[in-house]
Protein backbone atom coordinates (compact mmCIF):
# COMPACT_ATOMS: atom_id res chain seq x y z
CA UNK A 1 0.00 0.00 0.00
CA UNK A 2 2.73 2.34 1.03
CA UNK A 3 4.74 1.66 -2.11
CA UNK A 4 1.70 2.16 -4.26
CA UNK A 5 0.90 5.52 -2.76
CA UNK A 6 4.46 6.77 -2.96
CA UNK A 7 4.67 5.60 -6.55
CA UNK A 8 1.42 7.31 -7.43
CA UNK A 9 2.61 10.49 -5.79
CA UNK A 10 5.76 10.53 -7.80
CA UNK A 11 3.73 9.84 -10.93
CA UNK A 12 1.43 12.79 -10.28
CA UNK A 13 4.32 15.13 -9.70
CA UNK A 14 6.14 13.99 -12.79
CA UNK A 15 3.15 14.23 -15.05
CA UNK A 16 1.69 17.42 -13.68
CA UNK A 17 4.77 19.45 -12.87
CA UNK A 18 8.07 18.04 -14.00
CA UNK A 19 7.30 17.08 -17.57
CA UNK A 20 5.58 20.40 -18.37
CA UNK A 21 8.60 22.26 -16.96
CA UNK A 22 10.92 20.16 -19.04
CA UNK A 23 8.88 20.81 -22.12
CA UNK A 24 9.30 24.54 -21.77
CA UNK A 25 13.03 24.17 -21.50
CA UNK A 26 13.14 22.00 -24.60
CA UNK A 27 10.72 24.18 -26.50
CA UNK A 28 12.70 27.31 -25.86
CA UNK A 29 15.70 25.83 -27.62
CA UNK A 30 13.73 24.27 -30.46
CA UNK A 31 15.36 26.60 -32.95
CA UNK A 32 18.67 26.26 -31.24
CA UNK A 33 20.42 28.63 -28.92
CA UNK A 34 20.39 31.24 -31.64
CA UNK A 35 16.64 31.02 -31.99
CA UNK A 36 16.25 31.34 -28.26
CA UNK A 37 18.34 34.48 -28.12
CA UNK A 38 16.62 35.97 -31.14
CA UNK A 39 13.26 35.64 -29.50
CA UNK A 40 14.55 37.05 -26.26
CA UNK A 41 16.44 39.98 -27.65
CA UNK A 42 13.55 41.36 -29.62
CA UNK A 43 13.04 44.96 -28.57
CA UNK A 44 9.49 44.26 -27.48
CA UNK A 45 10.67 41.31 -25.42
CA UNK A 46 13.32 43.34 -23.64
CA UNK A 47 10.86 46.13 -23.04
CA UNK A 48 8.27 43.71 -21.73
CA UNK A 49 10.76 42.17 -19.33
CA UNK A 50 11.71 45.62 -18.13
CA UNK A 51 8.06 46.53 -17.56
CA UNK A 52 7.56 43.37 -15.54
CA UNK A 53 10.63 44.20 -13.51
CA UNK A 54 9.43 47.73 -12.77
CA UNK A 55 5.94 46.62 -11.78
CA UNK A 56 7.35 43.95 -9.49
CA UNK A 57 9.69 46.44 -7.86
CA UNK A 58 7.10 49.13 -7.15
CA UNK A 59 4.38 46.71 -6.09
CA UNK A 60 6.64 44.78 -3.75
CA UNK A 61 7.93 47.93 -2.11
CA UNK A 62 4.50 49.45 -1.53
CA UNK A 63 2.74 46.29 -0.45
CA UNK A 64 5.53 45.28 1.91
CA UNK A 65 5.41 48.63 3.65
CA UNK A 66 1.65 48.95 3.86
CA UNK A 67 1.11 45.23 4.40
CA UNK A 68 3.33 45.12 7.47
CA UNK A 69 1.74 48.26 8.90
CA UNK A 70 -1.73 46.91 8.26
CA UNK A 71 -0.85 43.66 10.00
CA UNK A 72 0.44 45.56 13.01
CA UNK A 73 -2.66 47.72 13.21
CA UNK A 74 -4.99 44.75 12.84
CA UNK A 75 -3.30 42.85 15.66
CA UNK A 76 -2.05 45.49 18.05
CA UNK A 77 -3.84 48.78 17.53
CA UNK A 78 -5.59 49.86 20.68
CA UNK A 79 -7.08 52.77 18.83
CA UNK A 80 -9.29 50.60 16.62
CA UNK A 81 -12.34 48.93 18.10
CA UNK A 82 -12.53 45.16 17.85
CA UNK A 83 -15.50 45.34 15.52
CA UNK A 84 -13.73 47.60 13.07
CA UNK A 85 -10.73 45.32 13.20
CA UNK A 86 -12.87 42.28 12.43
CA UNK A 87 -14.44 44.03 9.48
CA UNK A 88 -11.11 45.17 8.07
CA UNK A 89 -9.76 41.68 8.61
CA UNK A 90 -12.42 40.14 6.39
CA UNK A 91 -11.91 42.78 3.73
CA UNK A 92 -8.20 41.96 3.53
CA UNK A 93 -9.08 38.56 2.11
CA UNK A 94 -11.32 39.90 -0.65
CA UNK A 95 -8.71 40.08 -3.43
CA UNK A 96 -8.29 36.31 -3.06
CA UNK A 97 -11.86 35.86 -4.18
CA UNK A 98 -11.68 38.20 -7.15
CA UNK A 99 -10.80 36.87 -10.57
CA UNK A 100 -7.86 38.83 -12.00
CA UNK A 101 -9.86 39.90 -15.02
CA UNK A 102 -12.52 41.34 -12.75
CA UNK A 103 -9.74 43.01 -10.81
CA UNK A 104 -8.56 44.68 -13.95
CA UNK A 105 -12.11 45.61 -14.85
CA UNK A 106 -12.58 47.31 -11.50
CA UNK A 107 -9.58 49.51 -12.02
CA UNK A 108 -10.72 50.42 -15.52
CA UNK A 109 -14.20 51.28 -14.28
CA UNK A 110 -12.87 53.36 -11.44
CA UNK A 111 -9.98 55.11 -13.13
CA UNK A 112 -10.55 54.63 -16.84
CA UNK A 113 -11.00 57.52 -19.27
CA UNK A 114 -14.78 57.31 -18.90
CA UNK A 115 -14.82 57.62 -15.15
CA UNK A 116 -14.83 60.69 -12.96
CA UNK A 117 -11.44 60.17 -11.42
CA UNK A 118 -9.92 58.96 -14.65
CA UNK A 119 -11.04 62.01 -16.56
CA UNK A 120 -9.66 64.19 -13.78
CA UNK A 121 -6.26 62.55 -13.93
CA UNK A 122 -6.15 62.65 -17.69
CA UNK A 123 -6.95 66.32 -17.51
CA UNK A 124 -3.78 66.95 -15.53
CA UNK A 125 -1.84 64.85 -17.98
CA UNK A 126 -1.49 61.81 -15.78
CA UNK A 127 -2.65 58.61 -17.45
CA UNK A 128 -3.68 55.85 -15.15
CA UNK A 129 -5.36 53.16 -17.20
CA UNK A 130 -3.48 51.87 -20.24
CA UNK A 131 -0.33 53.13 -18.55
CA UNK A 132 2.13 52.15 -15.87
CA UNK A 133 0.22 53.51 -12.83
CA UNK A 134 -2.86 51.47 -13.69
CA UNK A 135 -0.80 48.31 -14.03
CA UNK A 136 0.79 48.95 -10.67
CA UNK A 137 -2.56 49.55 -9.00
CA UNK A 138 -4.07 46.41 -10.49
CA UNK A 139 -1.13 44.33 -9.28
CA UNK A 140 -1.21 46.02 -5.86
CA UNK A 141 -4.82 44.99 -5.50
CA UNK A 142 -4.17 41.39 -6.37
CA UNK A 143 -1.11 40.94 -4.14
CA UNK A 144 -2.23 42.95 -1.11
CA UNK A 145 -3.37 40.09 1.17
CA UNK A 146 -0.12 38.15 0.85
CA UNK A 147 2.08 40.18 3.21
CA UNK A 148 -0.69 40.96 5.69
CA UNK A 149 -1.64 37.30 6.01
CA UNK A 150 1.95 36.23 6.55
CA UNK A 151 2.74 38.75 9.26
CA UNK A 152 -0.51 38.68 11.26
CA UNK A 153 -0.27 35.16 12.71
CA UNK A 154 3.31 35.77 13.77
CA UNK A 155 2.34 38.95 15.58
CA UNK A 156 -0.55 37.19 17.25
CA UNK A 157 1.61 34.35 18.47
CA UNK A 158 4.29 36.73 19.68
CA UNK A 159 1.99 38.45 22.13
CA UNK A 160 2.40 42.03 23.23
CA UNK A 161 4.38 41.42 26.42
CA UNK A 162 7.84 41.90 24.95
CA UNK A 163 6.69 45.17 23.48
CA UNK A 164 5.22 46.23 26.83
CA UNK A 165 8.48 45.33 28.52
CA UNK A 166 10.32 47.54 26.07
CA UNK A 167 7.99 50.42 26.84
CA UNK A 168 8.61 50.10 30.58
CA UNK A 169 12.31 50.32 29.80
CA UNK A 170 11.85 53.62 28.06
CA UNK A 171 11.55 52.65 24.40
CA UNK A 172 9.07 54.47 22.18
CA UNK A 173 7.28 53.25 19.03
CA UNK A 174 10.04 53.16 16.45
CA UNK A 175 12.69 51.82 18.85
CA UNK A 176 10.39 49.10 20.08
CA UNK A 177 9.54 48.09 16.52
CA UNK A 178 13.17 47.79 15.49
CA UNK A 179 14.49 46.06 18.59
CA UNK A 180 11.63 43.81 19.51
CA UNK A 181 8.96 43.41 16.85
CA UNK A 182 11.05 43.32 13.70
CA UNK A 183 13.44 40.50 14.73
CA UNK A 184 10.42 38.34 15.40
CA UNK A 185 8.58 39.02 12.15
CA UNK A 186 11.64 39.28 9.96
CA UNK A 187 11.38 35.92 8.24
CA UNK A 188 7.64 36.07 7.85
CA UNK A 189 8.16 39.39 6.04
CA UNK A 190 10.82 37.85 3.81
CA UNK A 191 8.51 34.98 2.97
CA UNK A 192 5.67 37.40 2.26
CA UNK A 193 8.02 39.43 0.11
CA UNK A 194 9.00 36.44 -1.99
CA UNK A 195 5.34 35.49 -2.40
CA UNK A 196 4.54 39.06 -3.49
CA UNK A 197 7.36 39.10 -6.01
CA UNK A 198 6.29 35.75 -7.42
CA UNK A 199 2.68 36.82 -7.70
CA UNK A 200 3.39 40.20 -9.30
CA UNK A 201 5.80 38.57 -11.70
CA UNK A 202 3.14 36.16 -12.78
CA UNK A 203 0.19 38.51 -12.82
CA UNK A 204 -1.62 38.26 -16.10
CA UNK A 205 -5.38 38.78 -16.20
CA UNK A 206 -5.60 42.06 -14.34
CA UNK A 207 -2.63 43.56 -16.11
CA UNK A 208 -3.93 42.43 -19.49
CA UNK A 209 -7.15 44.32 -18.99
CA UNK A 210 -5.69 47.44 -17.46
CA UNK A 211 -2.69 47.85 -19.68
CA UNK A 212 -4.38 47.25 -23.00
CA UNK A 213 -1.33 45.15 -23.83
CA UNK A 214 0.20 47.87 -25.97
CA UNK A 215 3.40 46.51 -27.37
CA UNK A 216 6.52 48.38 -26.35
CA UNK A 217 4.53 50.54 -24.00
CA UNK A 218 2.47 48.66 -21.47
CA UNK A 219 3.24 45.08 -22.30
CA UNK A 220 4.63 42.85 -19.61
CA UNK A 221 6.42 39.54 -20.01
CA UNK A 222 3.28 37.54 -19.33
CA UNK A 223 1.08 39.46 -21.73
CA UNK A 224 3.83 39.18 -24.34
CA UNK A 225 3.73 35.41 -23.99
CA UNK A 226 -0.01 35.59 -24.56
CA UNK A 227 0.45 37.76 -27.62
CA UNK A 228 3.06 35.43 -29.07
CA UNK A 229 0.86 32.41 -28.60
CA UNK A 230 -2.07 34.13 -30.24
CA UNK A 231 0.20 34.96 -33.17
CA UNK A 232 1.39 31.36 -33.37
CA UNK A 233 4.90 32.50 -32.57
CA UNK A 234 5.28 29.66 -30.12
CA UNK A 235 9.07 29.45 -30.09
CA UNK A 236 9.39 33.08 -29.11
CA UNK A 237 6.69 32.67 -26.48
CA UNK A 238 8.66 29.75 -25.17
CA UNK A 239 11.81 31.84 -24.85
CA UNK A 240 10.20 34.50 -22.74
CA UNK A 241 8.37 31.82 -20.76
CA UNK A 242 11.66 30.15 -19.98
CA UNK A 243 13.01 33.35 -18.48
CA UNK A 244 9.90 33.62 -16.35
CA UNK A 245 10.17 29.99 -15.34
CA UNK A 246 13.77 30.45 -14.28
CA UNK A 247 12.81 33.34 -12.04
CA UNK A 248 9.87 31.39 -10.69
CA UNK A 249 11.95 28.38 -9.81
CA UNK A 250 14.50 30.67 -8.18
CA UNK A 251 11.68 32.31 -6.23
CA UNK A 252 10.34 28.90 -5.29
CA UNK A 253 13.70 27.96 -3.81
CA UNK A 254 13.77 31.22 -1.87
CA UNK A 255 10.24 30.56 -0.66
CA UNK A 256 11.21 27.21 0.75
CA UNK A 257 14.34 28.64 2.34
CA UNK A 258 12.48 31.52 3.95
CA UNK A 259 9.72 29.17 5.11
CA UNK A 260 12.26 27.10 7.00
CA UNK A 261 13.86 30.14 8.63
CA UNK A 262 10.38 31.34 9.55
CA UNK A 263 9.61 28.27 11.56
CA UNK A 264 12.83 28.18 13.55
CA UNK A 265 11.89 29.41 16.99
Amino acid sequence: MRRLLIGLTFAVFIVLLIIPLGRIVIGAFEDGAGGFLDGLLRPEALHALMMTGLVVLVVTLLNTLFGVMMAIYLVRAGWLSDRVKGLLNSIVDLPYAVSPVIGGLMIVLLLGPNSIMGAFFEGIGFNVVYAFPGMVIATLFVTFPLMVREVMPVLQELGSQQEEAASTLGAYGWRTFWSVTWPSIRWAVVYGLVLTVARSLGEFGAVLVVSGNIMNKTQTATTLVYQDVENFNVAAANGVALVLVTFSVGLLLMMEWAKKRKEVH
Partner: protein, 271 residues
Protein backbone atom coordinates in the same frame (compact mmCIF):
# COMPACT_ATOMS: atom_id res chain seq x y z
CA UNK B 1 14.69 63.87 16.65
CA UNK B 2 12.66 61.56 18.78
CA UNK B 3 10.55 64.36 20.14
CA UNK B 4 9.70 65.42 16.61
CA UNK B 5 8.68 61.94 15.54
CA UNK B 6 6.72 61.41 18.70
CA UNK B 7 4.43 64.27 17.94
CA UNK B 8 0.83 63.17 17.74
CA UNK B 9 0.65 64.48 14.17
CA UNK B 10 3.05 61.85 12.89
CA UNK B 11 1.18 58.97 14.47
CA UNK B 12 -2.14 60.13 13.11
CA UNK B 13 -0.64 60.82 9.69
CA UNK B 14 0.79 57.31 9.53
CA UNK B 15 -2.43 55.69 10.63
CA UNK B 16 -4.64 57.59 8.22
CA UNK B 17 -2.31 56.94 5.29
CA UNK B 18 -2.35 53.20 5.86
CA UNK B 19 -6.10 53.08 6.30
CA UNK B 20 -6.65 55.29 3.29
CA UNK B 21 -4.40 53.08 1.17
CA UNK B 22 -6.39 50.09 2.27
CA UNK B 23 -9.78 51.62 1.57
CA UNK B 24 -8.87 53.16 -1.77
CA UNK B 25 -7.11 50.03 -2.99
CA UNK B 26 -9.52 47.34 -1.91
CA UNK B 27 -12.87 48.72 -0.88
CA UNK B 28 -13.39 51.36 -3.52
CA UNK B 29 -12.81 49.17 -6.59
CA UNK B 30 -15.16 46.48 -5.35
CA UNK B 31 -17.88 49.00 -4.64
CA UNK B 32 -17.16 50.55 -8.00
CA UNK B 33 -17.86 47.37 -9.90
CA UNK B 34 -21.14 46.80 -8.08
CA UNK B 35 -22.24 50.36 -8.70
CA UNK B 36 -21.22 50.31 -12.33
CA UNK B 37 -23.04 47.11 -13.13
CA UNK B 38 -26.28 48.82 -12.23
CA UNK B 39 -25.32 52.13 -13.81
CA UNK B 40 -27.39 51.51 -16.90
CA UNK B 41 -30.36 50.45 -14.90
CA UNK B 42 -31.75 47.34 -13.37
CA UNK B 43 -33.21 45.95 -16.59
CA UNK B 44 -29.90 46.24 -18.36
CA UNK B 45 -28.30 44.36 -15.53
CA UNK B 46 -30.81 41.54 -15.84
CA UNK B 47 -30.36 41.48 -19.58
CA UNK B 48 -26.63 41.15 -19.28
CA UNK B 49 -26.74 38.23 -16.92
CA UNK B 50 -29.59 36.53 -18.76
CA UNK B 51 -27.57 36.56 -21.96
CA UNK B 52 -27.38 32.84 -22.71
CA UNK B 53 -23.70 33.01 -23.55
CA UNK B 54 -23.09 34.67 -20.22
CA UNK B 55 -24.85 32.29 -17.92
CA UNK B 56 -23.76 29.28 -19.93
CA UNK B 57 -20.21 30.46 -19.39
CA UNK B 58 -20.82 30.74 -15.67
CA UNK B 59 -22.40 27.29 -15.48
CA UNK B 60 -19.61 25.77 -17.51
CA UNK B 61 -17.01 27.36 -15.28
CA UNK B 62 -18.73 26.04 -12.17
CA UNK B 63 -19.02 22.55 -13.61
CA UNK B 64 -15.40 22.33 -14.70
CA UNK B 65 -14.19 23.90 -11.46
CA UNK B 66 -16.06 21.26 -9.48
CA UNK B 67 -14.37 18.50 -11.48
CA UNK B 68 -10.96 20.06 -10.98
CA UNK B 69 -11.67 20.49 -7.27
CA UNK B 70 -12.71 16.89 -6.81
CA UNK B 71 -9.58 15.70 -8.57
CA UNK B 72 -7.48 17.95 -6.38
CA UNK B 73 -9.15 16.87 -3.16
CA UNK B 74 -8.50 13.22 -3.93
CA UNK B 75 -4.98 13.64 -5.27
CA UNK B 76 -4.14 16.34 -2.77
CA UNK B 77 -5.19 14.34 0.25
CA UNK B 78 -3.22 11.36 -0.96
CA UNK B 79 -0.14 13.47 -1.58
CA UNK B 80 -0.46 15.23 1.77
CA UNK B 81 -0.66 11.80 3.40
CA UNK B 82 2.40 10.49 1.58
CA UNK B 83 4.44 13.61 2.23
CA UNK B 84 3.59 13.75 5.93
CA UNK B 85 3.60 10.14 6.95
CA UNK B 86 6.23 8.44 4.89
CA UNK B 87 9.95 9.00 4.76
CA UNK B 88 11.56 8.34 1.40
CA UNK B 89 14.20 9.58 -0.91
CA UNK B 90 13.14 12.80 -2.62
CA UNK B 91 10.46 13.65 -0.09
CA UNK B 92 11.61 17.17 0.71
CA UNK B 93 12.23 17.80 -2.98
CA UNK B 94 8.64 16.90 -3.79
CA UNK B 95 7.44 18.90 -0.82
CA UNK B 96 9.12 22.00 -2.18
CA UNK B 97 7.82 21.32 -5.64
CA UNK B 98 4.23 21.49 -4.39
CA UNK B 99 4.41 25.25 -4.30
CA UNK B 100 5.48 25.54 -7.94
CA UNK B 101 2.04 26.54 -9.26
CA UNK B 102 2.07 29.37 -6.72
CA UNK B 103 5.34 30.64 -8.10
CA UNK B 104 4.65 30.19 -11.79
CA UNK B 105 2.84 32.76 -13.93
CA UNK B 106 -0.51 31.34 -14.99
CA UNK B 107 0.10 32.22 -18.61
CA UNK B 108 3.23 30.09 -18.53
CA UNK B 109 1.19 27.30 -17.05
CA UNK B 110 -1.20 27.55 -19.96
CA UNK B 111 1.69 27.51 -22.41
CA UNK B 112 3.09 24.38 -20.82
CA UNK B 113 -0.19 22.56 -21.22
CA UNK B 114 -0.48 23.74 -24.80
CA UNK B 115 2.97 22.49 -25.66
CA UNK B 116 2.48 19.16 -24.00
CA UNK B 117 -1.00 18.34 -25.12
CA UNK B 118 -1.57 20.53 -28.15
CA UNK B 119 -2.29 19.25 -31.63
CA UNK B 120 1.37 19.36 -32.63
CA UNK B 121 2.63 17.43 -29.62
CA UNK B 122 3.06 13.70 -29.30
CA UNK B 123 0.31 13.23 -26.75
CA UNK B 124 -1.97 15.51 -28.69
CA UNK B 125 -1.54 13.52 -31.86
CA UNK B 126 -2.09 10.29 -29.98
CA UNK B 127 -5.29 11.60 -28.45
CA UNK B 128 -6.53 12.84 -31.80
CA UNK B 129 -6.01 9.45 -33.33
CA UNK B 130 -8.04 7.95 -30.51
CA UNK B 131 -10.82 10.33 -31.31
CA UNK B 132 -10.78 12.87 -28.51
CA UNK B 133 -9.14 16.21 -28.35
CA UNK B 134 -7.59 17.84 -25.40
CA UNK B 135 -6.37 21.34 -26.08
CA UNK B 136 -9.02 23.86 -27.03
CA UNK B 137 -11.54 21.55 -25.41
CA UNK B 138 -12.92 20.99 -21.97
CA UNK B 139 -10.31 18.48 -20.77
CA UNK B 140 -7.64 21.10 -21.23
CA UNK B 141 -9.56 23.57 -19.09
CA UNK B 142 -9.89 21.02 -16.32
CA UNK B 143 -6.19 20.24 -16.54
CA UNK B 144 -5.35 23.94 -16.41
CA UNK B 145 -7.57 24.44 -13.37
CA UNK B 146 -6.14 21.40 -11.64
CA UNK B 147 -2.59 22.56 -12.25
CA UNK B 148 -3.19 26.04 -10.91
CA UNK B 149 -5.00 24.90 -7.77
CA UNK B 150 -2.72 21.94 -7.07
CA UNK B 151 -1.13 23.26 -3.85
CA UNK B 152 -4.31 24.32 -2.05
CA UNK B 153 -5.64 21.06 -0.69
CA UNK B 154 -2.18 19.69 0.04
CA UNK B 155 -1.14 22.73 2.05
CA UNK B 156 -4.44 22.73 3.93
CA UNK B 157 -4.31 19.06 4.92
CA UNK B 158 -0.62 18.77 5.78
CA UNK B 159 -0.64 20.81 9.01
CA UNK B 160 -3.69 18.90 10.24
CA UNK B 161 -1.99 15.59 9.62
CA UNK B 162 1.14 16.80 11.35
CA UNK B 163 -0.85 17.90 14.35
CA UNK B 164 -2.54 14.56 14.92
CA UNK B 165 -1.46 13.19 18.26
CA UNK B 166 -0.05 9.69 17.65
CA UNK B 167 -1.59 8.67 20.98
CA UNK B 168 -5.04 9.06 19.45
CA UNK B 169 -4.26 6.42 16.86
CA UNK B 170 -2.52 4.22 19.38
CA UNK B 171 -5.54 4.42 21.64
CA UNK B 172 -7.70 3.30 18.78
CA UNK B 173 -5.50 0.28 18.03
CA UNK B 174 -5.35 -0.76 21.67
CA UNK B 175 -9.14 -0.85 21.62
CA UNK B 176 -9.04 -3.32 18.78
CA UNK B 177 -9.83 -1.13 15.79
CA UNK B 178 -8.32 -2.09 12.45
CA UNK B 179 -6.17 0.27 10.43
CA UNK B 180 -8.98 0.99 8.04
CA UNK B 181 -11.40 1.72 10.83
CA UNK B 182 -8.92 3.91 12.65
CA UNK B 183 -8.37 5.81 9.45
CA UNK B 184 -12.07 6.35 8.93
CA UNK B 185 -13.01 7.29 12.46
CA UNK B 186 -9.93 8.92 13.93
CA UNK B 187 -7.74 10.25 11.15
CA UNK B 188 -10.21 11.24 8.48
CA UNK B 189 -12.24 13.51 10.77
CA UNK B 190 -9.04 15.38 11.65
CA UNK B 191 -8.16 15.83 8.00
CA UNK B 192 -11.68 16.73 6.97
CA UNK B 193 -11.60 20.46 7.78
CA UNK B 194 -8.43 20.79 5.71
CA UNK B 195 -9.92 18.87 2.85
CA UNK B 196 -12.99 21.03 2.92
CA UNK B 197 -11.34 24.41 3.28
CA UNK B 198 -8.57 23.48 0.85
CA UNK B 199 -11.18 22.25 -1.57
CA UNK B 200 -13.19 25.42 -1.28
CA UNK B 201 -10.11 27.58 -1.79
CA UNK B 202 -9.24 25.49 -4.83
CA UNK B 203 -12.78 25.80 -6.16
CA UNK B 204 -12.78 29.53 -5.67
CA UNK B 205 -9.47 29.86 -7.45
CA UNK B 206 -10.49 27.59 -10.29
CA UNK B 207 -13.63 29.67 -10.85
CA UNK B 208 -11.53 32.77 -11.15
CA UNK B 209 -8.71 31.36 -13.24
CA UNK B 210 -8.01 33.25 -16.41
CA UNK B 211 -4.40 33.09 -17.58
CA UNK B 212 -3.97 29.37 -17.94
CA UNK B 213 -7.45 28.89 -19.31
CA UNK B 214 -7.42 31.59 -21.97
CA UNK B 215 -4.38 30.04 -23.58
CA UNK B 216 -5.63 26.49 -23.80
CA UNK B 217 -9.34 26.90 -24.29
CA UNK B 218 -10.93 27.36 -27.65
CA UNK B 219 -13.27 29.97 -26.24
CA UNK B 220 -16.24 28.50 -28.02
CA UNK B 221 -19.35 29.88 -26.35
CA UNK B 222 -21.23 27.29 -24.36
CA UNK B 223 -18.52 24.72 -24.87
CA UNK B 224 -15.19 26.09 -23.84
CA UNK B 225 -15.89 29.67 -22.90
CA UNK B 226 -15.38 30.21 -19.18
CA UNK B 227 -16.78 33.10 -17.21
CA UNK B 228 -13.53 34.97 -16.81
CA UNK B 229 -12.76 34.69 -20.52
CA UNK B 230 -16.27 35.81 -21.33
CA UNK B 231 -15.85 38.88 -19.15
CA UNK B 232 -12.58 39.63 -20.89
CA UNK B 233 -14.35 39.35 -24.21
CA UNK B 234 -17.00 41.83 -23.12
CA UNK B 235 -14.36 44.30 -22.05
CA UNK B 236 -12.57 43.99 -25.37
CA UNK B 237 -15.89 44.49 -27.16
CA UNK B 238 -16.38 47.75 -25.35
CA UNK B 239 -19.20 46.47 -23.17
CA UNK B 240 -17.84 47.21 -19.74
CA UNK B 241 -21.26 47.37 -18.13
CA UNK B 242 -22.15 43.92 -19.41
CA UNK B 243 -18.82 42.68 -18.20
CA UNK B 244 -19.50 44.32 -14.84
CA UNK B 245 -22.86 42.60 -14.57
CA UNK B 246 -21.45 39.11 -15.01
CA UNK B 247 -18.52 40.09 -12.78
CA UNK B 248 -20.95 40.95 -10.03
CA UNK B 249 -22.46 37.50 -10.37
CA UNK B 250 -19.09 35.80 -10.17
CA UNK B 251 -17.90 38.08 -7.37
CA UNK B 252 -20.93 37.44 -5.22
CA UNK B 253 -20.48 33.73 -5.65
CA UNK B 254 -16.79 33.98 -4.72
CA UNK B 255 -17.50 36.13 -1.66
CA UNK B 256 -20.02 33.59 -0.49
CA UNK B 257 -17.46 30.83 -0.78
CA UNK B 258 -14.88 32.95 1.02
CA UNK B 259 -17.32 33.53 3.86
CA UNK B 260 -18.06 29.80 4.02
CA UNK B 261 -14.35 29.04 4.18
CA UNK B 262 -14.03 31.42 7.13
CA UNK B 263 -16.87 29.64 8.91
CA UNK B 264 -15.31 26.21 8.39
CA UNK B 265 -11.94 27.43 9.60
CA UNK B 266 -13.44 28.97 12.71
CA UNK B 267 -15.40 25.82 13.44
CA UNK B 268 -12.22 23.80 12.98
CA UNK B 269 -10.35 26.04 15.39
CA UNK B 270 -12.96 25.73 18.08
CA UNK B 271 -12.26 22.04 18.52
Amino acid sequence: MNTVLRHKGWTWGFRSTVLLYFIVLIVLPIIGVYVNSFSEGWSNFIQSIMDPIAWKAVLLTIRLAVIATVINVILGTMIAWVLTRYRFFGRSFLNSLVDLPFALPTAVGGLMIMLLLGPISAIGKLAESMGFEIVFHQPAIVIAMTFVTFPFVIRAVQPLLEEIDPSEEEASYTMGASKARTFRQVILPSMAPGMISGGMLAFSRALAEFGAVVLVAGNIPGRTLTASVFIYGEIESDNPTGAAAVSVLLLTLSFLILWLINLVQMRGRRR
